[in-house]
Symmetry: none
Subunit: 225 residues, 2 copies
DNA sequence: CTATGCTGTTACCTTACGGTTACCTCTGTC
DNA sequence: GACAGAGGTAACCGTAAGGTAACAGCATAG
């Protein structure tokens, strides 16, 4: 699980990062709005933790901009406990709001709850077209035929299913499948080819599509023109 | 939407019930553990709001009993702000925890968020005229026809949507799409032409308009300058 | 020790993205 | 009326991004 933390108090930030690491939560860190924008462009997160007061702007504005374009759950951190601030935050799409000072344990729990929200809906089964995936039993079939995937391919498929119907961007795939490893583009390309080939045995319609520069996504072919 | 409220402070309870009613939230009310059990037996709720201190028991125990039998999201109310209490609550399956005193507005918002959690996560959408944009799935249609955009065009479209209904000025477009790059006017012009052409396939009304010297904006045809 | 299969690597192919250029219209100004 | 400047369109084309197949190294099983 990886989150984005945007917080200008570096002391608080380092403590948080350390603590969250122990909880198994990886953290990308930005201390300014500017940084946050550039870092977040690279990849998708399981959740975003935003401070309201930032040196070069306002976390609320950032959330407002993101609420129409990004799909991550947002949790606000702020010293401001006033109701107005909270209401504004929620109206900008925040899903949680924690007032400073707070316990790191609580932050960790709330982050985990938010992150689960996205994956919770993917119960145990997933179906698309003639494809059928049992996420618990790790059984995959397409048109009644059993499909066997290598570990990497399985990982990628579950990632895609978790995000369905949204695309998963390349950086996210790479961070998930090859965490802290040297990765080159060919490894990524091979994996895609292999999964694709396994998912569609004969002349079945392709399900795994690439959006140039944006990522990959599971969807049924739209055969209008 | 209907919730169960378990709270022994009758004053707080009546205020809450009144307020939530105005927000369109129906409330079943219990003031004791005993009552809560009997009332809740018949019905499923969108969320459950539990006080911790109850005259004949403890909300935490109730949550613990329910956490494997009931599927409703639980929000705790409590005067106890100690970390231990919160941790215990979360470990019993609570999804949120609000310390008294709190604003009724905040309670209402958090209840709504919890209730939404069970419903499928809906993607962020933008619609204008016959144009329909799913910002998360990155699917665009115009009059039911699927539209495929290049990465640059997609970026521009999201930029326009973020600012809608306000115009976006040229400098902003350029900084967003070509950050720290040499840009000439032709690149900008080409991008506009291409996006325009993709957005209106045949003789559909143009949606992307230029305001001289001000920038570009999405709007339905309306030639007030 | 052989066999099988997973995965990283390489080579080669195809496509369409986007920068470029040329030419057009429109509007306002001197 | 001509010129300038802004904006719009269409076509050209090099190249990077993506796709595939085949091979090689390495593990693991049997």
């Amino acid at each position: 699980m990886i989150i984005l933390l945007v917080e200008d108090d570096t002391l608080l930030a380092t403590h948080s990062i350390d603590f969250l690491a122990k909880e198994g939560i990886e953290v990308d860190y930005a201390s300014t709005v500017r940084q946050a924008k550039s870092i977040s462009a690279q990849q998708q997160y399981d959740a975003i933790v935003l401070d309201i007061n930032l040196p070069d702007g306002d976390g609320l504005n950032l959330a407002q901009q993101w609420q129409h374009t990004r799909s991550e759950p947002i949790l606000f951190l702020s010293a401001r406990a006033a109701l107005d601030d909270k209401l504004k935050a929620f109206s900008f799409g925040a899903l949680d709001y924690l007032t400073k000072p707070f316990a790191l344990e609580e932050l960790a729990i709330r982050i985990k709850l938010l992150a689960n929200k996205n994956t919770l809906k993917s119960n145990k089964r997933f179906a698309l077209d003639s494809l059928n995936v049992d996420l618990n039993a790790k059984i995959i079939t397409r048109a009644q035929r059993l499909i066997v995937l290598s570990p990497q391919q399985w990982q990628l498929l579950t990632l895609l299913v978790e995000h369905y119907p949204n695309p998963v961007d390349k950086a996210t795939v790479i961070n998930t499948i090859w965490p802290d490893q040297d990765v080159n583009n060919n490894m990524y390309k091979s994996l895609l080819t292999r999964l694709r080939s396994n998912l569609s045995h004969e002349h079945e319609t392709p399900l795994l599509h690439t959006l140039k520069k944006q990522g990959i996504v599971l969807k049924m072919e739209k055969t209008d023109e």
